[in-house]
Symmetry: C2
Subunit: 256 residues, 2 copies
């Protein structure tokens, strides 16, 4: 998500907080995820932010409405932008959603698609191994392919006509090529793979523009600052740089 924001909103300063001491959120209960999301949001609000993005589908699925109701800034989640991208991409009207246990069990994507595109049929599947696979950097080897086949085979059996696979977790774009290859092979017809990162960044730009809060790109073309904070600094340099596609110069550790 940060990589997409850096492309689409190059002049904005970004404060990124990764709750690395308590991740993954994907297999935890809604109550725990809401509690952690509240703490993360409070820490970011202290920086006088103008917009809060929940760049995690599990936290969005469980905590978006709570944070929107409680916080004094606009809060955008990952689910609605992802659902919007999927609704725009499907021709057959059948969309597959993969995500964490929490995201899938919450039913958040089904509800969002029912609002945005009531005629679309949604099938979903929790894929708990994809996050650790992405963090291990095994994104294209024989293990990644075997895991993808095992998760996607029942999805295609259940919905042979699906023509969109929505990556309902912000880790999954790291596995995009493998997932695309496997889902197209299993379907036997073209399946579009969409995620929420780009759509989320676009939604952020629209929201800032609507409220007159967009920062113009300066004449010298200088990019905004990127302030990276984590609750545990064990692996952020390696995993974070791989996901962001640019080296991370300085990382601050915060206690939550």
């Amino acid at each position: 998500v940060v990589a997409a924001l850096r492309r689409i909103l190059p002049a904005e300063d970004i404060v990124y907080l990764g709750d690395t001491a308590r991740v993954p959120y994907g297999s935890k209960s809604g109550a725990t995820v809401v509690r952690y999301a509240r703490g993360c949001a409070a820490s970011l609000l202290a920086e006088r932010i103008k917009l809060l993005l929940i760049a995690c589908n599990t936290a969005s699925a469980f905590a978006l409405e709570t944070l929107q109701a409680e916080l004094p800034v606009t809060v955008l989640g990952a689910v609605e932008p992802g659902a919007r991208a999927a609704a725009a991409a499907t021709r057959s009207g059948v969309v597959g959603v993969i995500g964490t246990l929490g995201t899938v069990q919450s039913g958040a994507y089904g509800r969002a698609l029912a609002r945005l595109a009531p005629q679309v049929r949604v099938v979903s599947r929790a894929c708990p191994l994809l996050v650790p696979l992405a963090e291990e950097g095994w994104t294209e080897n024989e293990v990644a392919v075997a895991v993808a086949r095992r998760y996607l085979t029942p999805l295609l059996a259940d919905a042979p006509d699906l023509d969109v696979l929505l990556l309902g977790c912000t880790h999954y774009p790291l596995l995009r090529e493998t997932l695309a290859e496997v889902v197209n092979d299993l379907a036997g017809h073209p399946v579009a793979v969409v995620d929420s990162a780009h759509t989320m960044a676009t939604a952020a730009r629209e929201e800032l523009s609507r409220r007159g809060l967009l920062r113009p790109v300066p004449s010298d073309g200088r990019r905004g600052a990127l302030d990276v904070r984590v609750t545990d600094d064990a692996r952020i340099a390696e995993v974070g740089s791989r996901a962001l596609g640019e080296p991370i110069a300085v990382v601050h550790r915060v206690d939550l």
Copy 2:
């Protein structure tokens, strides 16, 4: 570990605390693991326990000495019992240790084996995907085999004579059959697979016996109580019962 304790110390009451809201510990920094282990220990000490077992190799590797120095009860970790089992089992004098990133990077097994059996050569490898594999219940399928081959192949290439594979993580016994099959196949000679659960329970019995604190099995053969506590209750009934080999009747949630 609890399953082994229930067999070896059937009359003892056990208070088990799983920090499920913040697991896995395996990829986190030593500082974070020590902080969390201190909080867990404080919560258990409130129950007037007579012995504290750190039934997690990562927490043992990073926090054992701190907890031993700070707490008023005897503290046993997983590393020393595991190293003892490996030293007893090897004939070739070459032992392979697999564990989490934290356990392997800490070097705790190398130090323990250097103390117990200085002539033994230790090779080790971090296997971050094995914990999520075990929690997904994929313990014997084609994914488990592919993951095991990928982790163990370089270990055997580095140490062709190894004849003991030490499971340096309390999740790994769930994958024992697959790991044993793959390591024996790769080695081409018999490799013993050992873990710390049984040795840890034996060490607990010895310690209690030495201090005259063993509870005798009552004449009616009634087993001790098992009090299961977690910091997040999303998946304990499913994952916990599978690991323990008995249904878990009641689970209490505690906030840390």
